[in-house]
Symmetry: C2
Amino acid sequence: MAVYTEVADEDLRTFVAEYDIGTVVSCKGIAEGVENSNYLLQTDRSNFILTLYEKRVNPTDLPFFIGLMEHLANQGLRCPTPLAGRDGARLRSLCGRPAAIISFLQGLWPRRVSSAHCASLGAAMADLHLKGLSFPQRRPNSLGPKAWRPLFDLEAHRTDKVKPGLAAFLRHELDHLEKHWPTDLPVGIIHADLFPDNVFFQGTEVSGLIDFYFACTDFLAYDIAICLNAWCFEDDGSFNVTKARLMLSSYQKVRPLSAAEFNALPILARGAATRFLLTRLYDWLNTPPGAFVKRKDPLEYERKLRFHAEIDGPGGYGLEYHSLAAGEL
Amino acid sequence: MAVYTEVADEDLRTFVAEYDIGTVVSCKGIAEGVENSNYLLQTDRSNFILTLYEKRVNPTDLPFFIGLMEHLANQGLRCPTPLAGRDGARLRSLCGRPAAIISFLQGLWPRRVSSAHCASLGAAMADLHLKGLSFPQRRPNSLGPKAWRPLFDLEAHRTDKVKPGLAAFLRHELDHLEKHWPTDLPVGIIHADLFPDNVFFQGTEVSGLIDFYFACTDFLAYDIAICLNAWCFEDDGSFNVTKARLMLSSYQKVRPLSAAEFNALPILARGAATRFLLTRLYDWLNTPPGAFVKRKDPLEYERKLRFHAEIDGPGGYGLEYHSLAAGEL
């Protein structure tokens, strides 16, 4: 739930006057996203999103994010585009925070994920990966493998309060990941947070990707691993092989995976589960009482992590590389 | 912050198909209001508000609220209008909750209240009071004077945890209010929650009143007393006489107050401050840690209550009835 900053109407009108988008008709805080304050801004011409960047976003990263969205939109990817003001600037200040007006994307994010959503997602993600290759800027993944051990250490002393034995399990996983993390997979721009609430659909077709504020330079297949976690498990914790197959095969048709990428999926998915388990654990233990953010259950990711840790190879997802590559899925 | 219920897209499409309003383009939870789940629903024809009534609204009251909004809109008041579906019904069910699609009102609620806002509010409130007179239904004020003592008793044992001495102060106020509460003032439909976030403006002109889910039958002047509390105090706790004068004089021009109503303002304002102090106190003590509702400070209303308790009469607000009635303010 995200409105951390209330914008006074006179400040809003002054801000909007910097753009050639008409005059303000209404402006309502949106109860989605947890990093920034987002408003649905309606002018007499159209709808827009007004984003105020709050403290969880590093201001020095903003030119990367703004530039990336602009690049991807110019390449034809359906994603929010930061608007340029009359002075050409896409980023300015409102209520003491960096702020931007972003184009409004049509569509709904799926509250119940179907196999058809996963199929459409695979192609959209591959399209993003291809279109990101020509983006010249780089941004290291600040929540990549090197960040996991320090993040764990911060809360190790009270991790077992969330579940007895969790600290030892996580230590074991971190040891394994540090030893087996791949080093030579294809690298490019990844979204790194492609959860269902960041993907809009019209029917079962992707109509846009949003929220690029974790985007970074990393293994492209790591984005797939994040999506295996975020899209292919059912509420009861079971892994839906059909969803994984459809996601992978539609990805493959747009950007063919190498055998090395395919074989790395289990370790990448194990890493992705660890990353979200650690950040959720941290947020769980550090969200103050009365904070108006809905905490996400870290143990959902402990269960997912155990699943990935226990399978033998990508076959455990019901997938075989030769049939994937042959388009037989 | 209010989205308690997530609506799956297929449920939403089925629901919207009951209306002749086009097809769904987007639907975003709104981070405003604390009683219900509100979505900004965009179809290929227009914008609407989708409201799901959560447990704090008594379902048996909904026909009153829906009927009232329809009545007021028909009378020309700018307020949300519940849309009728193809079957004529304005209230139906979504995700197991009563739900309605409501017309979208333009305007912004003021984050910083100016004197000009208060002037415009006075006339709009008087207009509401006049237009409500012809509404045939009645609804007792469930948060009126009879509710205050029982509400206080619920938390009396821990009220002093919020501030030492607060329980004794409240007991004294309740004694006074029960003894001096008026009995014979003009009665009608009041909004009963006309805080700045429920009043939309375009510039300094009221463009609409929203959120009628506390509306009830009570003294009309009690609505003014609520607004004296909600609109005329500055952040530092000082009472702004100019705002009160402008609100009252513009009210007076549309619906002249009787001398009895005018003279009752201090006791009514004292009651209104007590009502909001008590409900805020209850919410403060009963909002669970991690709940994603921003708690409102009850002590803001303790300070307002002390102000009303200490003045001699309506002159304490810088107002005199003869000049008000003569339009000299």
